[in-house]
């Protein structure tokens, strides 16, 4: 463990350095390793496992998608992923994920929290859990795009900073914030006296947002600071730019970043419509792996790449594939995880035939690798709740 360093203290320290984010890496707080972090790439809508990491060429289910060899012996990817195929020796490929939710909203909630939606409890996002458990050393949780879950019962203080746009969040500068805060607090004090509630809790989010606007996290959006070659490697797509921002956020000390990669829900014309998304993923994720490795951060950063479910092996009459939570694929990388393939599906892709995995298992693995005991408990009010929904870490990838 590194020595304690509060989020605010870190941000302040970083802000006063002349070189901004570059001169204020995480280990500026104390000697030792950089902050452990998670980058969760959400293939929103549900990517087809047959067109990405579990192709079935030559079968009626495989469609026109061909397979290509990778740098892992015996592992083949779909044809649209040549760059990732060349980096497969750094990837953990999970081919046996099984879920119970076929509805976007519910499955997205499950993917991001590790729990099925419940009317009884609003569970925290995995990023919120990490932000809370990693303590004051973690500089927050950012969602690049909308988040299907927030702080849940861990509270608004751990809710993601959801930034939809690609521009750097603007700001009015410190003097403006001080004035605004004084005015807002006066209103909240008065209202709490008349109507009840905690006035401080109501302005917590303000303080967090102000930290972002005043500190090095804001600089993560300033992609023009990156060499042209680096920007080019990530690609010009929304996903590519968001992945580069994510890398910069992790460097600024953010504990968890969700990168929403929209546009995978192809019930029609899937083979044509998936192609550009696959190319963007291939390019962006490959660049992220190379970049983090070059900056010696890959071993402390877990990358997870998953959709909320997969897609049906059966090709529907509209040349699309529908929702399929019964057997789908995902990737893990970085964080010192051991590369390899876990699990397998039947030749027709209809079911998992080896080593079934749940989303909660993936969460448990991520938590364990990032130094948070997945068997620990958290409190929802006074009620003890597990950190994961009976998930078991995946020993094959923990190494």
């Amino acid at each position: 463990m590194t020595a304690p360093c509060s989020r605010r203290a870190f941000l302040r320290r970083a802000a006063v350095t002349a070189l901004g984010v570059w001169a204020a890496p995480r280990w500026a707080c104390a000697g030792g390793d950089p902050q452990a972090a998670l980058i969760l790439i959400w293939l929103r809508g549900g990517a087809s496992q047959l067109e990405t990491f579990d192709p079935k060429p030559g079968t009626p289910q495989g469609g026109p998608t061909r397979a290509i060899e990778t740098t892992q012996r015996g592992l083949r990817f779909a044809q649209g992923l040549p760059r990732l195929a060349a980096r497969a020796d750094r990837l953990c490929v999970l081919r046996s994920l099984r879920g119970s939710e076929g509805d976007h909203d519910r499955a997205s909630y499950l993917l991001h929290t590790g729990w099925r939606p419940s009317p009884a409890l609003d569970y925290p996002h995995l990023g919120a859990l990490l932000d809370a458990e990693l303590g004051p050393e973690a500089a927050g949780f950012v969602s690049l795009g909308p988040s299907p879950a927030r702080g849940g019962f861990r509270g608004a203080a751990h809710a993601p900073l959801e930034v939809e746009g690609e521009r750097a969040p603007g700001g009015r500068g410190a003097p403006g914030f001080a004035r605004q805060r004084e005015l807002l607090e006066a209103l909240e004090r008065g209202f709490a006296a008349r109507a009840g509630g905690d006035p401080q809790a109501r302005v917590t989010g303000f303080a967090q947002a102000r930290d972002v606007l005043e500190g090095p996290v804001r600089a993560a959006w300033e992609l023009e600071a990156e060499p042209v070659a680096v920007r080019g490697a990530y690609g010009a797509s929304l996903l590519g730019r968001r992945l580069l921002i994510a890398r910069r956020l992790v460097e600024a000390g953010v504990a968890a970043v969700v990168v929403e990669a929209p546009g995978w829900d192809h019930h029609e014309d899937l083979f044509r419509q998936h192609a550009p998304r696959i190319d963007e993923l291939d390019r962006g994720l490959s660049a992220l792996l190379d970049d983090l490795q070059a900056k010696q951060r890959l071993s402390r950063t877990v990358i997870a790449c998953l959709g909320e479910f997969g897609r049906t092996p059966t090709i529907n009459p509209r040349q699309g594939r529908d929702h399929f939570p019964q057997a789908f694929s995902g990737l893990l990388a970085g964080g010192g995880l051991r590369p390899g393939v876990v699990g397998a599906t039947a030749p027709d892709g209809s079911q998992v035939v080896e080593r079934p995995l749940r989303v909660a298992d993936v969460h448990a693995t991520i938590l364990e690798r990032l130094g948070v005991d997945p068997r620990g408990i958290q409190l929802a009010g006074d009620r003890p709740v597990g950190r994961v929904d009976e998930g078991q870490s995946i020993p094959e990838v923990l190494g």
């Binding site: 976007h104 419940s118 009317p119 299907p148 608004a156 930034v163 009015r172």
Partner: protein
């Protein structure tokens, strides 16, 4: 109220009807009497009524979804007039749409379009004077293409992937029952069993949703003559027959049969909307009560079958009986609840009185309402003369985005970030400050009255007046719209 208690209540209703007894009339006064009686039993004093300006703000936000007009003159606190106002039905439809089909962060653009069209259809039907029973029947029993039978879009969104996926929202939103866990196992604490869940799902087993070739976002919704619901129940994968959540013989004395009924959904909706149904009217009343008082008479809203049989549950049954007798009229329900003294009470910081509806409870404004309140505050409630519709639509979309996801009173970091930094919002606030001119003291009073329907306190004047004198009106406006007082109805 347990399922047995609900069934007893339904049986009592049936017996009273058979005996020719009239149930007690439901009115604002009967509701207030019940609340005061319960308050007295708990030893709680009701808070005094709120002042006219606060009540006018509360009523405008609840009935029309916006702040009262500055040009309205004297504060308007007449609940019946507010419900008769042309602004009422569009907002009631918007809230109903949000309740029956809530927007989610992970919604696809196509689903968002269908949801918006669903809201427009609800509004048209409410304008035509239809009751919620008719709307529910048309939503769940829809047949035809979604551009003609527009209520069908609900089933397109929730029923296309099978009966089990349809059963969940139907149970929760139409019956006030949360049966999600009974999909895989009997409810650990409640009474719902897997048989209940899958029995409900079986009513939707023959539902067929197909895209209409060549027509974007148009779907055909129909009922197949055959087809059974199959599920794993208690470890056994098998067919499950339709089974109603409560089994009183409301449907001509016959329980739905397994194979002979060709439109199971029609049978289900007949049961659902029967005035004697113990769930539907209560679920709808409880939702509207929760909107207006910040908490349902029975909590949680979707566990009607698990609530204790207490005074609140009995009051819910009482109001639900009036609602059913009104023809499930949403205007009747709002008019009645908005006319109660309980609705008009002032704020008090103690939760016990708020829980007992003897004091007002601050309720977070829905994001859309908050956006409209902001536009009203800055003088942009209506399109400016000559403002192009697409420019107006873009403004409204942007305002919606500023407050999207704002569900509670606490300022979440993401919202704070947007509110602190979005140049569009800051520009709009700067523009809005132009409406408030004059000497700082008068200007501050006008700003507070417009945003919060009250004058500033002495403590607030000490902080805000120097800011206005330093020409920091945008900061003042920012603080007002970022405050939980502005973001809530109270």
């Amino acid at each position: 109220m347990s399922r047995a208690a609900l069934l007893c209540a339904a049986a009592a209703w049936l017996a009273a009807s058979a005996a020719g007894d009239e149930p007690p009339p439901v009115s604002a006064a009967s509701i207030d009497a019940a609340l005061l009686e319960e308050g007295a039993r708990l030893g709680l004093e009701p808070a005094p009524l709120a002042g006219p300006a606060a009540r006018a703000r509360r009523l405008a936000l609840d009935a029309w979804g916006t702040l009262p007009d500055a040009q309205d003159g004297a504060p308007r606190t007449d609940a019946a007039a507010a419900v008769d106002d042309p602004r009422f039905l569009p907002y009631a439809a918007e809230r109903l749409a949000r309740a029956w089909w809530p927007a989610r962060a992970a919604e696809t653009p196509a689903l968002a379009l269908l949801r918006e069209d669903f809201g427009r259809w609800l509004e048209a039907r409410l304008r035509a004077g239809d009751g919620l029973d008719q709307l529910a029947a048309d939503v769940l029993g829809a047949e035809g293409t979604s551009d003609e039978a527009r209520g069908a879009s609900f089933l397109v969104a929730f029923g296309a992937t099978g009966g089990a996926d349809a059963a969940r929202p139907v149970a929760r939103r139409f019956l006030g029952l949360s049966w999600d866990c009974a999909r895989c196992h009997d409810h650990p604490f409640g009474e719902a069993t897997q048989e209940d869940f899958h029995g409900l799902a079986a009513f939707f087993a023959r539902l067929r949703v197909r895209p209409v070739p060549g027509r974007q976002l148009v779907f055909k919704v129909g009922e197949a003559p055959l087809g059974e619901h199959r599920a794993e129940v208690a470890g056994e994968h098998r067919e499950v027959a339709p089974r109603l959540p409560a089994a009183p013989a409301l449907d001509g004395g016959k329980a739905p049969t397994h194979a002979s009924d060709t439109s199971r959904r029609a049978r289900f909706t007949r049961w659902l909307t029967d005035p004697r149904n113990p769930y539907f009217a209560r679920a709808q009343v409880n939702r509207v009560w929760s909107e207006l008082f910040g908490r349902g008479l029975v909590e949680p809203l979707d566990e009607l079958d698990a609530a204790p049989d207490d005074a609140r549950a009995r009051l819910l049954a009482h109001v639900a009986q009036g609602f059913a007798a009104s023809g499930f009229s949403l205007p009747w329900l709002y008019r009645t609840l908005l006319s109660t003294e309980a609705y008009a009470r002032g704020l008090a910081p103690d939760l016990a009185r708020q829980d007992a509806c003897l004091a007002a409870r601050p309720r977070p404004l829905p994001p859309e309402t908050r956006g409209r309140a902001l536009l009203a505050l800055v003088g942009r409630a209506r399109p400016a003369p000559g403002e192009l519709p697409r420019v107006r639509a873009a403004l409204e979309a942007r305002v919606r985005a500023w407050f999207a996801g704002a569900e509670g009173l606490d300022l979440l970091p993401g919202q704070a970030l947007v509110q602190l930094s979005d140049p569009g919002l800051l520009g709009l606030l700067a523009q809005g400050t132009g409406r408030f001119t004059g000497r700082p003291e008068a200007r501050l009073g006008a700003l507070f009255r417009a945003a919060l329907s009250r004058s500033p306190t002495a403590a607030e004047r000490r902080v805000f007046l120097p800011a206005l004198r330093r020409d920091q009106a945008v900061d003042v406006m920012w603080a007002l719209v970022s405050s939980s007082e502005f973001a809530s109805n109270h």
